[in-house]
């Protein structure tokens, strides 16, 4: 069985990825907390594609459970996609360390804990692919979401290092940096239409980039250039700006 493991499977991007991979002939394993909430979605994917979809309970913040979680999977996946993410509230996180910690742990620590385990296995087997969904917010810290951004920056650096480490084992690592995406996470924001991707566009970009063995994917593609500009603004200027 050639299946793909998707963690953080309740997110809109994860669901779009699930449909995209199933459409291209992959069976799936979806992991999330309270995963039974995904049973109707699993039925959706199966009805569309005739692919099998298994559901696995996983709490990304319960680090101790991760080894057991992965060991309990009898047949190991062909590849893994992490769409784990928590935007949180920037202002709250500034004064409430619990919120800040939750943002960092969900976006970074938890993913590292699980990816470490999976990377070891893939390295040993000398096969597999790893897709980590980071964010353009990690490319430069801004006052509106720098705690989330810093966690994503850490994740991007982690994925870059992991790619370097696993190169010899022929395990491919893809870093995904979405810009604005129209999801539950951004529901209340007023996003500019031309810069905002739909989850299924992101999923299709991810599938193509992973199949082609790309290293870093900006989606929509224009974000590569947007971020190039944002990152090239001198710090003495940037600190005065509100973007």
């Amino acid at each position: 069985m050639s299946y793909v493991l998707i963690i953080g499977a309740k997110s809109d991007i994860a669901k779009a990825c699930a449909r995209e991979y199933a459409k291209h002939g992959y069976d799936l394993c979806l992991a999330a907390r309270n995963v039974n909430e995904l049973s109707e979605f699993a039925q959706d994917v199966t009805t569309r594609t005739q692919k099998s979809v298994k559901l696995l309970e996983l709490d990304i913040l319960d680090y101790k459970s991760h080894q057991g979680f992965y060991d309990s999977i009898e047949e190991k996946p062909l590849g893994v996609i992490s769409a784990v993410g928590y935007l949180g509230e920037q202002e709250k996180a500034q004064s409430d360390f619990e919120e800040a910690k939750r943002i960092m742990d969900t976006n970074y620590t938890g993913v590292v804990s699980l990816f470490n385990i999976i990377a070891d296995d893939f390295e040993k087997r000398r096969s597999g692919f790893i897709v980590g969904i980071s964010s353009v917010a990690g490319d430069r810290g801004r006052k509106s979401n720098y705690i989330y951004g810093s966690a994503k920056a850490a994740l991007s650096a982690y994925l870059s290092g992991l790619r370097n480490r696993l190169y010899d084992a022929q395990v491919h690592v893809l870093t995904v940096k979405p810009g604005f995406v129209a999801t539950k996470m951004t529901e209340d924001m007023d996003l500019p239409e031309k810069l905002t991707a739909q989850p299924d566009e992101v999923a299709s970009d991810i599938f193509n980039a992973q199949q082609k063995g790309k290293n870093v994917l900006y989606t929509k593609w224009i974000w590569r250039w947007v971020m190039l500009i944002i990152c090239s603004i001198p710090e003495f200027q940037f600190k005065k700006m509100s973007i």
Partner: protein, 432 residues
Amino acid sequence: MSLLSWGMYPKVTNTVFKFNSEERLKEIISEYNDLIPYGNGRSYGDSALSSNIINVKPKDYFIDFDEEQGLLHVQAGVLLSEILEAYVPRGWFLKVTPGTKLITVGGAIASDVHGKNHHVEGCFSECVKEFEIMLADGEVVTCSKETTPDLFRATCGGQGLTGVILEAKIYLKKINSQYIDQTTIKTKNLKETFAAFEEYQDKPYSVAWIDCLAKDKEIGKCLLMVGDFRDDGKLDYRLKPQKSIPFNFPSFALNNWSVRTFNWLYYGKAKEGVSKQRVDIDTFFYPLDAIGHWNRIYGKNGLTQYQFILPKETSYEGLEEILTAISKSGKGSFLAVLKLYGKANNNWLSFPIEGYSLALDFKIEKGLFELLDQLDEIVVKHKGRIYLTKDVRVSKETFEQGYPHIEKFRQYRKANKMDSKFQSYQSKRVGI
């Protein structure tokens, strides 16, 4: 962000409600008035616009498929394109499909859409076994022709004015190819066009493209395209990536001259007389879906589609009169689609009746509504009717004269307190 319709006219602002549970939808319905369900925003006018919009598109789960019966169970926000993507490779096709696949199943029911095979298969409601709908009091009812005939007749074609469709079970049809053997017949005038329709009536799919800027003796000249599925076992259907119009064209881009040139090229490229082609599903059924946001070609003021149908007895005379009026006005339309329909069904507001229908796209500009009022008079005189799904301006009087069951629909809405909850700008204008 406010939602507009496909015509991008009228420019309105609205509050958009999403719901992720029936409880939430019930709350929305009990708390607000002037609600109208909205699918993928492909109706042209104001039939799915109101100050409060219920966005059903996110409800897009496939639930089950019964291979024995070809019966597909989906949520109302599933697009027809998603059904094709999943089921054409397995040898299934929609029994009834309109000229775009980018509409939701809920929208297909609410507009009781029809396609090139109306003369054989009828409207979309013919393939609907049953659907679930939340009514004005928040109750969820499973509705079918047999169990709740009045609700079925009111809802199919009822423009979302009876409640929010949540799920539907629809029958698909077996196909053995994603290719169609198409015959194109080039005619020289309206008389030849009518004769060609009659001659090819036994073909399951037919539609004609009319050059509505043709003058005098050439009025009504057309390319009639008829066809049926092949039997070659090739089912390798994939959705093609769309080319998209990135921004609104300046409104002068579409003028009498450019439309005339387009029509001349389109008509000219077809062979004289009868010719045969092999085309795929997307080319045959959904030519315009290949260009995303094609409505932007009409400029920022938007467009409307004028679609009417005349009974067979009055069709020839009426069409001649209308085509002459359009030709005189010089207001162009890329798309003028003519089709011969089969018998009407029992749904109270479904558009099709036995006869000829013509659909024309116009950009919104000065003098257009006056022209359309003038066309309305001709339609009414010949006992025809206007298609609500395309309409944005028809008067109450014109509308009423075309739909003899309108009183039943009104009474039904009133009796079930639907009229105090569900309203669109259109329903208010035409008094339903």
